[in-house]
Structures are given as structure tokens and as C-alpha cells.
Amino acid sequence: MSFLRLVRVNLRRHWVRTLIGVAGIAFGCAAMLTILSIVLGAIGMFERILDTDSQVLVFERNVSDLFFSSVPEAAAGEIRNLPGVAAAHPVLFGIVSAPDHPIVTCFGVERDNPRLAQATWLAGARDRFGTAGEVVVGERAAAFLNVGAGDHLPLGHGGFTVGGVIRTANGFEDGGVFLPLAAAQEFFHREKIASVVAVKLADGARAAAFKAAVARRFPSLIALENREFARGYSQFRILKLTGWAVGVCAFLLGGLGVANTMLMSVFNRIRELAILRVCGFSRAQVARLVVAEALAMAAAGLATGLALGFALLALIEAVPQLNGYVQATVRPTVLAGIAGTALCTALAGALYPAWFATRIEPAEALRYE
């Protein structure tokens, strides 16, 4: 007989209790996986939007959300002329409602924006972009708004004609509507304003000099390299923190479940643990047995939770209303973090029961037989 066999027998004996403990960990894992994957997926999508043929993003200093950032269009023109700049593309972000769709993301871009150049045009022609009264919609947006080229697209209090349908590299853009920059500025009442300017440098290694130049010339603006932006943008930080916090809270509940299960398990077999001591088990071996049972529960909970989490993610991505806004990203670091948290939670939950088990005095436990 192996040590693991003892662990398995003990867990199987009170299988309902074991299942409850496993379920606690599983829900924690699933919650953490789902939340973090969605959050990191959303952030990743945004990063890819920024990365479209640019290395540096210029936006309003100290702004909490890029949707509230205001960069004067004149500044965009000046930035274009700064030394080392190969291209600078102003983009205006906006959110508007459409019938049955409270949130439709809009991108105001110039004709030569690389997003349009790099997209696959499923309908319409790129050279028509900018025609008065016409917009281009992403593939997913076309699906959930149920429009195609030539159709009328009601947006907010107005409407546009769909001039084309494009497929882009990421779901967020695919779920949006592209307007000519001037039309977007007028539509959102932000004349001569862009949200950001995406800058492509002739030499990426000279980003520091460019950032310094922006700081000198435009004190109200800030230039960040894309990776700096992703790291420091407060919305991303809040999102990530929230994701981890919710996940850890879910795990704490799971950990309490494990602690409760293990404590009940130890209390219910005090005499049996005493017999193990009689048969030569040391205190450390008894503690190892209890901890191994908790870890086995954590492993089962982890496997179940990950399966549940992946199923949930697939389900969420399949919901039409969320098309384009949820693109789950499962990173190895997240999986490692979840596994680590699950095992640590189980270990923490097993500490007191294991300690209690080692304090059982065999003679005391057997005296009242």
C-alpha cells in the first residue's frame, strides 16, 4: 500500500465533503481564469490596436481614460514634423448607441490610417473611405448590427450609409465603426480634436528623444511607448488589480472550504490518526497525510476549475452581444498564477488541521475506547 492510497481512501470515505472542498477550489480557479483572461484579453486587444504600425502613443497627460483624452489636431500636425517621426495618425475614440445595442465603439481615422490599409476589405473599396455620409464597419459589428455595404446604419441621433465591411486583426476593432476623422469630430462634437496620436518612428531606438521633444513642446501631452502605456495606464492597472482581487477573494472562499473539509476530516478520525501513530507514524508523517489530502483536493479543484473556466470563456466568446468586446487571452503566467494560488490556498487551509492532527496523543485518543 502506498501513501497515496491512504490519501485516496480518506478522501473517498466522505466523498460529499470532499466534493464540496473540491468545488470551492474549482469555483475559485474558474472565477480567476475567466476574469483574468477577459481582462487581459481586453487589454491585449487594446495593445494590439495601439501597435498598428506605431511605437509611441501621444495623449493628454493625467487623463484617466483615453476616451476623455483631447489632443488638438494642430498638435498632431506638429508631431508629424518632429525629428525622427515617420508617420503620425490621429485617432478619435467615441461611443454611441445603435438600436438594440447600447454601446458601439467608433474610431475616427484619416484615410491613410494603417488600420484600414492592413484590414481585409470584405465589401466596399478602401478608396471610397471618406465619402460624405459613409462609414466602414468591422466584420463583427456588421454581424451584430445586421448591416452590409449600402445599408443604412442608425447611430445615436443620426445615421450613416455603410460604405464597406472590413476584417481587422483584433476583435475590438472588428466590433467597431470607422468614421472619417472629420466626420467623427463633428458627430461627437469634438471639432479639431483627436483622442490620441499614434506615432511611427523612423528609428524605434530613438523613442526617448521623441518623448523628450513632446514633453518640451506640449506640456499638456504625454508620449509613451506602447509597452509603457500598457504597463502604466491606470485603467489597465485597475482592471488587472480588480481581476486578481476578485480571483483571490474567490480563492479565499475556496480555501475556507478546504480548511473546513480537512478540519472535519481530522475531527472525525482522531482515533484512526492515533492508530497510525501507534503503528509508527511520526507527527510529521501524520501532518504530511493531512496536507497531501488537501493538495489532492486542490489538484482536483484546479483541474475541474480550469475545465470550467475554459468552458465559460468559450461560452462568453460565443455570445453574439459580446462579439468584439471579449477576446479571452489565456497566458501561461495566468495559469501558473492560478495553480500557485490554488495550491497555496489548500496548504493554508490544511495548516491548522495538520497541526491539530499532530497534537493527537494516541493514549488519550484510545483511552476512551
Partner: protein
């Protein structure tokens, strides 16, 4: 004194209890008062006395399951005054048989027998062979894969005997091993137990209140009012 008897006296006794006192409930319940006795190796000694006389306590102390308030206990010449010594004692030197078998109900006969080997880290193959030998000796070969909760009382006690002998201990401490069995089964199990212990040359310290089992041993010690006296 002859050379052989001199050599014999140089061998420490299996169990030596010297001036042992023990009480419970912070001294309010005295159990043992200056208990003294020795058991030589290979000897079968009965601790005989009424319930509550301190027989079980003496076995627990001799097996390192409890600590005396005063006095010294040595097993095979070694003191058992540290936790490490007591764990080592239970792994290698002593085996216990209790009135209630105290087996693990969800494990099979083989698995219950393997528990002491697991504690001691014995090799798997050797453990398997030893279990086969012991289970055959008590006539339970045909039930080896059965869970002990499906066995009769007599069968369970036979499994408990196998478990006690698993690591080939020098001393068996048996606390009313037939106390929970009917008379006929008790006689059979005791005869089997005594035979196994005798054949293996193991020392037996048996706590019993039944005179007939006590008298089947080499020597009887009466436990009364916390003291141990030869009969």
C-alpha cells in the same frame, strides 16, 4: 555464575519498568504508584487484574504512547524518553493488539497489515511477502482483498494480530486482545495468537482480566492499586 548465564544477564530485558508513577486529571486520578517489573526476552507475561487497575496504562507507557509522571521505562535496554525514540520504538520494536481491533475500515486486509511497513518505509516487495506469510498463518489468505469492515469480529482481530507482527517487533503489547469476542472465538484467536508469538520468539506482555488467558502465559503479574506484584 556460569559463562552462559553471565552472557544472558548481560542482555537487557525486553521491558524494564522501574519506579513508575502515573496519574490522570492533574494528579486527581492516581493509576500507578511505584510500579516495578521486568520482562525478559522471549517471555510471555500476563498483567492480570480487574478493569481500571492500570493494565492498559502500563501497556501504553511500555509502548511509548504515554509518558510516566515519574520513573523509568526501558525497552530492549533503551530509554524511551524522547519523541524520536518513541516513534522508533513503535516502528521497529513493539507491536500493539487492542481489545477493539482498531483497523482502518475502508482498507483491505492487506492494506491494514501494510500500515506499519508504510510508517517504517519498508520495501514494497518485502512488505508483500511478509503480509502473505502472516495472513496465511492466521488463515485469511482467501480474504486478503476484502475490506475489514466486511469481516467478522474474530477475523478482524486476526488481522490486527497480523498488523502487530508486521515489522517483526521484539515485543508485542496486547491489551485484552480477545475481550470483544465470544468465548469460543476468543479461545481460538488466543490460541492462534499465542502460537504465532511463541513460534516467532517474540516477547508478549498481555493485559487481561481473564484468568484462563493469564495462566496460559509463562508468568502472571497482578496489577492492583497501582502496583505490580508477581503471583
Amino acid at each position: 555464575m556460569s559463562e552462559s548465564s553471565s552472557r544472558a544477564s548481560a542482555v537487557p530485558p525486553a521491558v524494564a519498568v522501574t519506579g513508575v508513577w502515573k496519574s490522570f486529571d492533574r494528579g486527581r486520578v492516581p493509576v500507578l504508584a511505584d510500579a516495578n517489573f521486568t520482562v525478559t526476552r522471549g517471555e510471555m507475561v500476563a498483567l492480570w487484574g480487574p478493569s481500571g487497575s492500570g493494565k492498559s496504562t502500563l501497556l501504553h507507557l511500555a509502548g511509548g504512547l504515554d509518558l510516566p509522571d515519574r520513573g523509568e521505562i526501558r525497552v530492549l535496554g533503551e530509554p524511551i524518553d524522547s519523541e524520536a525514540a518513541r516513534v522508533q520504538l513503535r516502528r521497529a520494536a513493539v507491536g500493539f493488539v487492542f481489545q477493539l481491533h482498531h483497523l482502518i475500515p475502508d482498507l483491505t486486509i492487506d492494506e491494514n497489515c501494510a500500515v506499519p511497513a508504510l510508517a517504517a518505509g519498508q520495501p514494497v516487495a518485502a512488505t508483500r511477502d511478509r503480509i502473505a506469510e502472516l495472513v496465511a498463518a492466521v488463515g485469511l489468505t482467501h480474504r486478503r482483498t476484502h475490506r475489514v469492515q466486511d469481516l467478522s469480529g474474530g477475523e478482524r482481530q486476526r488481522v490486527a494480530i497480523c498488523r502487530a507482527l508486521m515489522n517483526r517487533p521484539a515485543v508485542i503489547l496486547a491489551d485484552e486482545p480477545t475481550g470483544s469476542l465470544d468465548e469460543e472465538t476468543a479461545d481460538k484467536v488466543f490460541a492462534l495468537f499465542r502460537d504465532l508469538v511463541h513460534r516467532s520468539g517474540t516477547t508478549l506482555l498481555l493485559a487481561t482480566h481473564e484468568r484462563r488467558f493469564a495462566e496460559a502465559c509463562d508468568r502472571v503479574l497482578r496489577v492492583s492499586h497501582g502496583r505490580v506484584q508477581p503471583i
